[in-house]
Symmetry: C3
Subunit: 169 residues, 3 copies
């Protein structure tokens, strides 16, 4: 269908070609740190569930444990400060980890220096893990604010490189 | 600019090379299921809009239909249980589909067994579609809880493989 | 480890291969617009912080400026219409920009016509930037509704092509 396709017709070669992509050290590092921050984000779901169950604060009538009497529903379908705190931390993850993944992927493909790239990824991952701890504990400010800002700066630094390198409008 | 660039200088060859990536069966499967779960997630916006219009519960004064009198704004800018339910389902999609896309992409590039990969994608997509139905209807628990958990486990299973295969810290 | 690996054993060649991906014009365009909409989304965090500070409406007790007396906490930990408005705009970005990034990546790899692809990306980016302005100002409807709908249609148009081209179930 495409001109070059005949050159590599068997599927193990194609597989090999894709695994080459995985051989780039920057891309491997991005893979590792991307999986780490996504795993961290997924843990927030468990933390939310933990607080909902221990604080007995549910979002939906059908989640109320035991009999679904109107009194029980009124009592247990409520907001709780700790639950809302974890939810804000989770939402903050979504707002910050998504740009990191999108911009980080483009950055990884832009042939950056390996050491520079590694430090971008490491600092971002450390900042986001610290951010979650600071948010859920909670630690006094500026712990949370600063860790958010560091992750934010790292993402902008990668965005700057991506947009500086190639603007194709 | 890069050493190997002279080998394939015309752009149709480059295109061919990219389309090779699309020829990998695992990657094609990921593409298909990724597009399916993202499309499902996009439908939640329509469901929210539908409930907002039929329940006449809006988030912003400027969305109130008819004349924007203070009485109308007070009456129609409000939260509604059904609307909030769809919004929670939508947010749960964001919290779960994003890790699936990120980790699933890395997983697809890690040369997994095709059948294993296909079942990961199929189970995840089915679980998330069932989750939305269970949330919006709503079906009694543990319908929603279980479908969430299945999707969650599938994503962890892929994350495990990605992180086991190559840690590049 | 994989059959074709011996063909390109040194790492600069592998790097070259990855940078070929970046040479595709459609992919470069996607990179540019993806980075633009993600940057726009990141700016929403700053706008939220700005409104939180000027309106003195905080989400957490530890964010309250000055002494954390119970009176101060009660006074400043509150919701504010402008802050909530920016937060809704931000959440709407998450709900719409994520499908664009996911589906847009698959679309970019599906060998689309360059001009068609460029207009998809351009219209989406313009619609989302206008959407944020319309939401935060706020402009009267249907400014926001229409800009949301245009971005939504663009994403569906790409999803249609991706799913039509190759369904691998």
């Amino acid at each position: 269908m495409t001109p070059g396709q005949g050159l590599q017709s068997n599927s193990s070669n194609k597989m090999a070609e894709i695994s080459h992509l995985m051989d780039s050290e920057v891309f491997s590092a991005f893979t590792t740190y991307g999986a780490i921050v996504l795993s961290k984000m997924m843990i927030m779901s468990i933390v939310t569930a933990f607080f909902r169950l221990t604080r007995k604060a549910f979002a939906n009538p059908e989640d109320v444990p035991g009999s679904k009497t109107p009194e029980n529903i009124k009592k247990f379908v409520r907001t709780d400060d700790s639950v809302e705190r974890v939810r804000r931390a989770h939402l903050n993850d979504l707002e910050n980890i998504i740009p990191f993944l999108g911009i980080g992927l483009l950055y990884s493909l832009s042939n950056p220096d390996l050491t520079t790239a590694l430090w971008h990824f490491r600092i971002f991952a450390a900042a986001r893990i610290y951010h979650s701890i600071a948010y859920v504990t909670p630690l006094p400010q500026p712990n949370r604010g600063l860790s958010w800002f560091i992750g934010y700066l790292v993402t902008w630094s990668m965005a700057y490189r991506v947009l500086k390198n190639k603007l194709y409008l």
